[in-house]
Amino acid sequence: MAQEASSSTSSKTISLKTGDGEIFEIEASAAKQMKTVQRLIDDLGDDITIPLHNVFSKELPKIIEYYKKDITGEITKDFEAEFVKDLNDDEVKVLFLAANYLDANKLFEFLSQNIADRLESKSVEYVRKYFGVENDFTPEEESKLREERAWSFRGIKEDE
């Protein structure tokens, strides 16, 4: 759903169109924090709707919510904890990829930390699943690597 455009005449809003055709409004100062968007504005002008082919209507509102808080300087640890609290691992990944595509640095850094937090002390299989990695080592190669870096594998639980 399109968000309400800002009623103040002094702050400009930019229209963003997601890959699945929905349009969202964002303040120009928030758009500036997303370097990809700013580059598109510089190239296409700020009056037309900016197309974002790789970002979709499921995640863009959340990103806009983050930057709305950012431009008023209200991002606190509590806000960030609340922001990711109900997101599952896949949702965080999608946001992360979107932040990367949009070159939205602050959100990107925060989500990198959050992904690392989710992976902390997890088993090797869990991390593989998370990144969608196929194990292409032979059992011999794998056990040799485990031996070489033995200290890394002490105390890390393995899935059954």
Partner: protein, 392 residues
Amino acid sequence: MADIVSTLPDAILCHILSFLETKQSVATTILSKRWKYLWRSVPVLDLGRSAVTDQNAYIRFIHFVYSVLLFRDPALPIQKFKLIFGYHIHQIVRPYYPMDTITKWVDFVVQRRVEYIDLHVDLHVGTEYLPKLPISILTCNTLVVLKLVCFNVVELFSPVALPSLKTLHLDNIMFPELRDFMLFLVGCPILEDLSTFDVAFDSEESLTCDEWKSFCLTNLTTADIDCYCNHFPLKAVHNVSSLRLQIDQENCRNDFIHTFHNLTKLDLFCSSLHYNWKMVIEVLKHCPKLQKLHLNEVELEEGLWTRNDDNENWVDPDFVPQCLSLHLRTCYISSFFGLHGTELMLAKYILKNAKVLQTMNIWNSGQPEIKQQLSSSPVASATCKLTVYYVP
């Protein structure tokens, strides 16, 4: 989804790995062939909390760290080095003395242009013996953040030079003299965030040199200072906008409190508001632009404080501190012993004179009548909201 993630370039995967402890990021070597060498490009050495309980565990640990240092991409700088290392001093004998090894690692990362060091070495022998701080840290010109816990800074033969340092957190650090600590601060000209806790000196000596009288960390915006254990020249931090301070009347010497021209937020911790109310008023007089005040009573020294309801009587200050008349919006008071004599008068005084006060919150134990007493006393600000919380 998996396809998209696997198209992420190595640099981004390494970036995520840089938020993990090195132990785990090295373990990603077995995820797949693509991941085998990714850990070598992570510019962070985060050894987290490593406690060893015997010599064998210690040897395995140092073997691991040395192999990481050897195999990582030598062209890459090391941005961050973190180690919290604990052991009992009798568990590890020479030639494997840990501080020798750790000093070598510190020297290595300093040479690799490290920007962030967080180092804590706990010898489990109390404060009589603190390990020596690796001195290469003190002339690292790329260092931006430095956090040190439990070190002895030995006599410095060359000046401290930390031209990029913005954040300095010191906890349980021993200097030979106060002068050496001042020289340390002089070496951090662009410092923005300073925290000191339990910074001690082998010899107590007051600052008499004229050169220190005007010393100030001009770029400092945030400070967290513990004046309770040892003298700290507050003049050095008087430019800050946010200050957390542990202090008692006894720590205040003549001409001790300077004017904090930019201070808008103050968290003050003292052992008893009852005995320190005069100091609190003095402090308020020196913070003309203060907007947010939090007064905390804490037990700074166990068993030291016993309530003695005599001697301390409230006297109205000769003039109302400017911050109360013009700027104070928020006031929190956390009272350990409850508000009785002078501290109750202090709370009432603030309510009576703080013309733009929006919020006054009080936390105390017991005393259900407090809210009534305060609600019925004069309040300068019509929009002030008073809340009293009870802490069991």
